[in-house]
Subunit: 244 residues, 2 copies
DNA sequence: CGGGTGCTTGAGCTGTATCAACGTCTGTGG
DNA sequence: CCACAGACGTTGATACAGCTCAAGCACCCG
């Protein structure tokens, strides 16, 4: 289980990089760049997908972070994924029409809107790009399944480690950072809400990880000091994050 | 949030019923029946999808139950979904190629094999059926997300109730049973492994539910005695299970 | 009958939650 | 430029949901 530590080029578009394997002809290239048009900036805290109204668009996240979560009736939240540059936002909602979950920008973001019409016409025009959409959805599902396993079968410590490794890995895949160190806009509360533990307990576990010299999360910076050991602790297996 | 209590017709094919909204032309009808050909019987306990070797097929589950799970290195398992008649098995694995999860038959099952070639050719021949596949995958992802929320944010009791309602609802959708009572081949261990609790604790919670007259699970039969109350307890919201 | 599989119950333990307080930083308005 | 409010992080004390270990029971099937 080695991780190919790609050099990263933050200048290259994350989305284009992720779907490159699905571009064979120039027609596909054109379609794909159309996907990336209609760019919009949004501020941290803005809702991109809301359970209130039926979704009008999916989005491609070019820059910034977002989180996809369910709001529970008692006011707590379960975040089921952090969405990173190159990822689709709300694709599931667009296909399923009415789902009780929200996507909110965690930082300033740059996105482009993708309407259902564009999606449909892509399906008619390019089987290869249809596959790309299918693959994106599958990868997202695999990520969510992994989070389910994380919460269902691992202790708090291992969960934390697993998620922080995953994020580093994903960022590295789209050329945003090295694997073992990245800027991380999450608060401890965000992280705790993704991991199914309280922020108080998270804080204690983070202290221990820091004391053991394994990992630090300070000042919006995650550093994985001993990646091999951490990967062993969390049983991290990146198959589910494979690119095509 | 009312549940339309459809009368059920176990004679009608579950898969055909589920994808009926995606059949407009007779050409699509033909393609869809092709999907359902190549039927095979398999025994309880047989592995349909294994993390060991790369997947050769996805399957359509016509009859019987299966479970999709991850096996952890310490020997425990996390089941992330029970697969019911009409569902695809291993679609995710087929698209993603190498995933660490297994699908095993829980009862005798009748399935039909679907190869990647068939899937690809469908994408070229019918945008509508491509959409159907996309939708199936999305629905499965939504189910997994709901299970994530279940485990992450609900107590043991509510989890149990939520899952048992969900299964009844899904069975009813494909004409296998009424919503509030169904034959259930799961052992308490299976259920516990899906819910992220021990079978010992599950057993105690089931006893309490039985004593309270809310729900019983005896002799492979689930009966939801007071569905409205149960739905309130579990905050069950069936949006994620919508049919097209 | 004997052994396996699944169910049930008990006793004691522990990981994580809850409640509460305090510290630190940052941005804002007087 | 200071004062203050509001987020966020940190720490302590205590409670409890769910776990572990262990044993007994009831089938069913060979």
């Amino acid at each position: 289980m080695e991780m190919t530590m790609k050099k990263y080029h933050k200048d290259i578009d994350a989305f284009g990089r992720k779907l490159k394997p699905f571009v064979a002809t120039s027609a596909e290239q054109v379609l794909l760049t159309e996907f990336s048009s209609r760019r919009r900036h949004m501020d941290a805290g803005e809702e991109l997908v809301s359970s209130e109204q039926p979704p009008r668009f999916a989005y491609i996240l070019h820059e910034g972070w977002a989180s996809a979560y369910r709001e529970m009736s008692n006011g707590t939240r379960q975040i089921f994924d952090f969405r990173l540059p190159g990822d689709f936002l709300g694709l599931l909602s667009l296909v399923m029409h009415r789902l009780d979950y929200n996507v909110v920008a965690l930082t300033e973001v740059v996105v482009s809107e993708v309407g259902m019409d564009k999606l449909i016409s892509t399906f008619r025009q390019s089987p290869l790009l249809s596959e790309a959409v299918l693959w994106s959805l599958s990868r997202d599902a695999a990520i969510i399944a992994e989070h389910l396993i994380n919460i269902g079968r691992r202790g708090a410590m291992e969960r934390i480690v697993h998620l922080l490794i995953e994020i580093g890995y994903r960022l590295n895949q789209v050329g945003q950072s090295p694997q073992d160190s990245y800027e991380c806009p999450l608060t401890q509360k965000d992280l705790a809400e993704a991991l199914g533990i309280t922020h108080v307990h998270l804080n204690r576990m983070l202290r221990q990880l820091r004391n053991d010299g394994l990992l630090s999360f300070n000042d919006h910076m995650v550093t994985l000091h001993d990646l091999p050991t951490l990967m062993r602790i969390a049983e991290f297996e990146p198959n589910y994050l494979q690119t095509r």
